[in-house]
Amino acid sequence: MATRSRLGLVARRLAGAIPSIIGVVVVTFVLTRALPGDPAAYFAGAAADAESIEAVRHQLGLDRSLPEQFVGYVVALAQGDLGTSVSSGRPVTIELAERLPASIELTGLGLLFALMVAIPLGVLAATRPNSWVDHLCRVVVTAGVSLPTFFSGLFLVYVFYYLLGWAPSPLGRLDFIYLPPPQVTGFYTVDALLAGDTETFFAALRQLVLPALTLGLFALAPIARMTRGSMIQVLSGDFVRTARAMGLRRRTVLITYALRNALLPVITTLGMVFSFLLGSNVLVEKVFSWPGVGSWAIEGLIASDYAAVQGFVLTMAMLFIAVNLAIDVLYTLIDPRLGMDG
């Protein structure tokens, strides 16, 4: 009974993402085709002559009406065709696919780090109001949202690379003395482990630490803030009082009773956190010369490589929608109260 309505709810969530997807497709189309200026000239790149611009115009169907163009755009998208990058002459889809694992590995590790620090910090701050942990939490929360990621990244490089010499040079995913592991997932750390090459694994991990830390520091603030607030609210709740009145151990009360409930609103804010992360990722990739989609998009922006930027924006938006969807579904599966009402 409950399971079926739960499945229905998941299906509804999936369906709910459709308007967002349509919106994203329309916006990217509008951004590239319907604005003042000559899109053909944009797509052909800065160095194109009149003839190649005409060729591009025809190839993109820019000589047709807007609705026709839109249909063509959607059809191409459905086939995974995001056009061709003028700087490399290669399909945008392939270029993106090559670089996406680097970005996901970085963002994922950054988020993991943020969660591992922010949740305990928020819990400790909530259980010990006005203690030093609480003050630390408050400082971290305010400083975290005020720190420009590119600045904190450079700061970490200065301290851990230049001053202390602990970190490797902030140039890419792997020091040049190592060869990338044979590609399976595209994540160097995972691939190195799969190949049983621990040395390369640690080399890849060393390169990851500082950029992931930079991203994590940024994502930490909203998660810690939410955990603390939510935890304080839950701890003053009636059912925590009941758990204490039943003599349950402090650990059980804090973790099984309070934290599980407190994490529900935290999960919903993860969507917003991810939006920030995907944006900051671009900046961090530039600081650390990380060969992901972000730094590629920056190159595209500077070189007026239009298809590249458009493909990047679209991919990031789709990724973001997918993440939000996953969060929604997760929430639906965790909270039993959903699935009953409305």
Partner: protein, 282 residues
């Protein structure tokens, strides 16, 4: 009424000295923005190859950059541009976002749904990435940085305004004004909207910091502002190359200025919230 507010103000400020610090910082920023070029000890654009990459010293407090320009002067002069970009962006998105949100909250129905859909669509993008796409589409100029930053902040204002207006639509004082013969639009503009301003101001202040960060981030990756114009984001970008060789002052000072500015607006926002909504404390 005013005296209780004043007492509350004193209470909040005494209770939260950080807000006082933030307010002081805010005044400094305003002064720098208004009189920056007069206060700068050197010409921010004057290059002096012989003095390149000097660490902070008595004559150049923040050191000099790779072209021998005085970093302190550049940091000071940059305040105006950075603040101008974000003030313009926030003003734009406040004006547009709050009007749209107010209309959505007041009339409901189709208007609400369309405006809500637009806001949702913007929010469906990672916001900084959308800003990159907008600048790419509109062209790589400072004005377009302003537009892009304004657009990505629009949904926040629209949502706050919508919620605040929707709560007040049926409030007693609105009914009274309606009975007194005020037209609907007049009701919205003169009676409801002004009441939503306090919570909107909190949003503005919190949003300023985030707008500054976004604009600086865009110029950090090479959009909008062009060298040699002094701007904090681009100065950090230029200084980034020198971090690896230990010339930290190029990036540190503009970065710190940026951070302090953002910090200041965030603290002000928190302070304002305490001031406006005393329930959130205690």
């Amino acid at each position: 009424m005013t005296s209780t507010f004043a007492r509350h103000l004193v209470y909040v400020l005494r209770d939260n000295p950080v807000t006082v610090v933030a307010f002081g910082l805010f005044l400094v920023l305003v002064v720098l923005g208004l009189f920056g070029p007069l206060l700068a000890p050197y010409d921010p654009l004057a290059t002096q190859a012989a003095l390149a990459l000097q660490p902070p010293n008595a004559s150049h407090w923040f050191g000099t950059d790779h072209l021998g320009r005085d970093v302190l002067s550049r940091v000071i002069v940059a305040a105006r541009l950075d603040l101008l970009i974000s003030v313009c962006a926030v003003t734009l998105s406040f004006a547009l976002g709050s009007s749209l949100g107010a209309v959505a909250g007041f009339y409901g129905g189709i208007a609400d749904r369309v405006i809500g859909r637009v806001a949702d669509t913007i929010m469906a993008f990672p916001l900084f990435v959308l800003a990159m796409g907008i600048v790419a589409a509109l062209g790589n100029t400072v004005e377009n940085i302003v537009y892009a930053t304004a657009i990505i902040n629009l949904p926040f204002y629209a949502r706050v305004a919508r919620a605040e207006v929707a709560i007040r639509r049926q409030a007693g004082f609105v009914d009274a004004a309606r009975l007194a013969g005020n037209g609907e639009l007049r009701l919205l503009a003169l009676h409801i909207f002004p009441n939503t301003l306090p919570p909107m101001m909190v949003q503005v202040s919190l949003n300023m910091g985030w707008a500054i960060l976004n604009a600086a981030g865009l110029s950090f990756i090479g959009l909008g502002v062009r060298p040699p114009t002094p701007e904090w984001g681009i100065m950090v970008a230029e200084g980034a190359t020198y971090i690896i060789s230990g010339e930290w002052w190029l990036a540190l000072f503009p970065g710190a200025a940026l951070m302090l500015a953002v910090f200041c607006f965030n603290l002000l926002g928190d302070g304002l919230r305490d001031l406006i909504d005393p329930r959130k404390r205690t």
